[in-house]
């Protein structure tokens, strides 16, 4: 594996290795001296075309703890408006002699395109409404830590699925790891062609959160942007919360062993109530800490164990 562009790049074996290494990396986080020499002399550029403080920080810390030289380049705004093509922007950065590009872009597919233009390693740190493979890895890591395994487990993903890159990566990786997935959203927030997609990939969909929750081993609440209302996706935040929020009342439907996840940032009171966000089953902060470990593992597997990949 040269790049990590999609969760589909991960075989079950590779995903298992990355999660296992992440466990070892997690231990480093608890040391006093948090530094491994694995990527000494390697340069990783976080090329962010879209702001994301948490993802950028997570990749930055991950790279630094592995002793890589990490440089953050913010290329905010679409390249079209600046008159420079994505191709030229990326080649300019790559020409500085980098070993890895960690790319965040507001447009779907941009990291895949970039990987075809450069020789160095490319990691997708979130592209448009397409994928966010390291998020899926950290979600899997977090759920696995609580549930022991994901094999045969039932994961429920709730929220703005149409505009979520998290859900697409999770659908792929959870299937790879043997979990069963149910997507829950109002029909307007279900991705296009979901019926054919669910049929082909073997997952379920539902408009009824209450019916699904009692059978969940994990529930992942996705952020719902208030701006979606202007697109007519749902009438009011209040109505959304009543139908699809993880409210205090709904917590009672969730089994005691189940895990509550949220990729953040949370809209407290909209898709997740404070009661749910702060209770014992909620692993939101565990996810953040797992994010660093998983990204260390990804960088390690792509850069350290693959000599010559950064030609």
């Amino acid at each position: 594996m040269k790049h990590l562009l999609s969760a589909a790049d991960l075989s079950r074996d590779m995903a298992g290795q990355i999660l296992e290494t992440a466990g070892a990396m997690h231990d480093v986080q608890n040391r006093e001296v948090k530094k491994l020499p694995a990527l000494r002399g390697r340069t990783v550029v976080n090329l962010f075309f879209e702001d994301s403080t948490r993802t950028r920080s997570s990749f930055e810390i991950a790279g630094k703890w592995l002793s890589a030289d990490v440089i953050n380049v913010s290329a905010k705004g679409s390249s079209v408006s600046k008159g420079e093509s994505l191709h030229d922007t990326v080649l300019t950065v790559a020409a500085m002699g980098v070993d890895g590009l960690v790319i965040r872009h507001m447009r779907s597919g941009a990291p895949l395109q970039v990987s075809q233009w450069v020789d160095c390693m490319v990691v997708n740190a979130g592209d448009g409404t397409h994928e966010h493979p390291t998020q899926a890895l950290l979600d899997a890591y977090t759920m696995q830590a609580q549930l022991g395994t994901l094999e045969g487990k039932h994961v429920v993903i709730v929220g703005d699925l149409t505009h979520s890159r998290v859900v697409r990566s999770n659908l792929i990786l959870l299937k790879t790891l043997g979990a069963h997935v149910t997507l829950v959203a109002p029909p307007t927030l279900m991705p296009s062609g979901i019926a054919a997609w669910a049929g082909a990939d073997g997952f379920e969909t539902s408009y009824d959160l209450d019916a699904v929750l009692p059978h969940a081993d994990a529930v992942m609440m996705l952020r719902v942007q208030r701006e979606r209302m202007s697109g007519g996706y749902f009438p009011t935040p209040r109505e959304y919360t009543v139908g699809y929020g993880l409210t205090r009342d709904r917590l009672g439907l969730l089994p005691a062993h189940a895990v509550i996840c949220h990729p953040g940032p949370m809209n407290r009171g909209l898709e997740i109530s404070p009661d749910a966000a702060d209770e014992a089953r909620s692993k939101v902060l565990d996810q953040v800490s797992a994010g660093v470990a998983v990204r260390m593992s990804v960088l390690y597997h792509l850069l350290a164990s693959n000599e010559g990949a950064g030609a």
Binding site: L86, D88, R107, G109, L112, E131, G193
Partner: protein
């Protein structure tokens, strides 16, 4: 061979009706038959095994001049057209400045004439600056030396129903036609770039649902019925559009439609690699839509094939998919695509191809100088097509200035061997004769 217009084309299969010789004299077809009485010294063109078709007429071409001469010029676009077997093209109005005045239209016609490889007919904008707000000077464009008869805001839909109604009514005075780019701007806004369906869902690309085309087609056929006007649907791309067209024609509504080579062949699945060369408006559709437009072309529900040839500079395509320019080349591969998808599988005869690529588009545009078929006395606008060769398309071989060729690497059956415009050989042996 420079400017001679006398030829004897020998042994060509004339529009699929069997081998014959075509005698071309003084820019006209003098005679078609076997054992013709041929004057001495006339140049013979061996067309054994080739199909002779009437010169192709493209209702939908983007030549980019004026404004984007880095992507295409009237000269390079004309060369690509000649290489594709075309003898007339209709140049869309979305240039910079927009073709929305008589002066702008005359300028394009004049530049086309100066190049002389194909007849270049400007399409006039329906609304000033394509803004969709006020009618452009349709009548002055019609009265100009360019004699504009086809009007379109192509690239943008005339979505204001009242304005569309007025445009349809107004052009009746000079037997004009409005070509509609059918795209409801709220159901498919400017960001919509992938057919809405499983592929757009998986790829996370903004969906362009077929219904955004179909509701405008349905509205416009009703407006055409109400006003008693002619409406032409650009680049019909969905099964739903075909159903509406079929229904409207059954009621006698004066609607015509075109389909592009790419919508006849290329599926939405090609977007999986996010290659912007496959970004086009309307988007590539799934197999069921492709089958529907093929069937509609074969049975005449769709009247014409038009390329929507849309050259783009490389740097306008080297963006993220959603940011890249819409459009793909079409002139040079159109006939081979039509052969590969329709003729070879037995779905269309050469006579039907001639109707869809020459006679009907000329009639829709009220073009009297072309589209008259291969008959004695007609202007010698002739395309020779070799159905036997198999070509792997190489975008570098294009006469266009641009390289956004969606068939690059595809295998197509057949190739244009030569093109004659009023007896002048504009293309032969891979070379354009300026």
């Amino acid at each position: 061979m420079a400017s001679t217009t006398d030829y004897l084309i020998t042994g060509a299969d004339v529009v699929g009706s069997g081998a014959a010789d075509i005698l071309v004299r003084d820019g006209r077809i003098a005679e078609i038959g076997t054992g013709l009485d041929v004057p001495s010294g006339i140049e013979r063109v061996d067309a054994d095994g080739l199909v002779a078709l009437p010169g192709l007429v493209d209702l939908h071409t983007h030549l980019r001049e004026p404004g984007r001469e880095d992507a295409e010029t009237i000269r390079t676009g004309s060369a690509a057209a000649a290489a594709g077997g075309f003898t007339a093209v209709f140049a869309m109005a979305n240039t910079n400045p927009v073709t929305d005045t008589a002066e702008a239209a005359e300028r394009i016609a004049e530049l086309g004439e100066r190049v002389g490889l194909v007849d270049v007919h400007p399409v006039g904008a329906v609304t000033k600056s394509l803004a969709g707000e006020e009618l452009a000077e349709l009548g002055l464009m019609a009265r100009s030396r360019a004699q504009v008869r086809v009007f379109s805001d192509d690239g943008k839909c005339v979505h204001d129903a009242r304005l569309m109604r007025r445009a349809l009514e107004y052009v009746k005075a000079f037997d004009g036609v409005v070509t509609q780019h059918a795209q409801d701007p709220l159901l498919a806004d400017g960001s919509a770039c992938c057919h809405e369906g499983e592929v757009s869902g998986r790829l996370g690309l903004p969906g362009w649902p077929g219904v955004a085309e179909e509701v405008i087609v349905a509205r416009d056929v009703m407006l055409a019925r109400h006003t008693g006007s002619r409406v032409h649907i650009a680049h019909a791309s969905t099964a739903g559009t075909v159903e509406v067209l079929r229904w409207a024609k059954s009621l006698g509504i004066d609607v015509t439609a075109e389909v592009t080579p790419h919508h006849l062949m290329l599926e939405t699945d090609l977007l999986a690699g996010y290659d912007p060369v496959f970004k086009v408006n309307p988007p590539l559709r799934p197999a069921e839509d492709i089958e529907a437009v093929r069937e509609a072309l074969a049975d005449g529900t769709i009247d014409a094939v038009a390329t929507d040839h849309a050259p783009h500079a490389r740097h306008d395509k080297e963006h993220a998919f959603a940011d890249a320019a819409f459009g793909m080349l079409g002139l040079e591969q159109a006939l081979a695509v039509l052969h590969t998808t329709m003729v070879e599988p037995g779905r269309m005869t050469w006579a039907q191809v001639a109707e869809a690529t020459s006679a009907r588009p000329a009639r829709i545009a009220r073009l009297t100088s072309q589209g008259g078929g291969l008959v004695a006395g007609a202007p010698a606008n002739i395309t020779l097509f070799d159905p036997a060769v198999t070509n792997v398309v190489d975008r570098e071989e294009s006469k266009s200035l641009s390289r956004n060729n969606p068939w690059h690497g595809h295998t197509l059956k057949g190739a244009v061997a030569a093109t004659f415009l009023r007896g002048r050989r504009t293309f032969a042996n891979g070379e354009v004769h300026q």
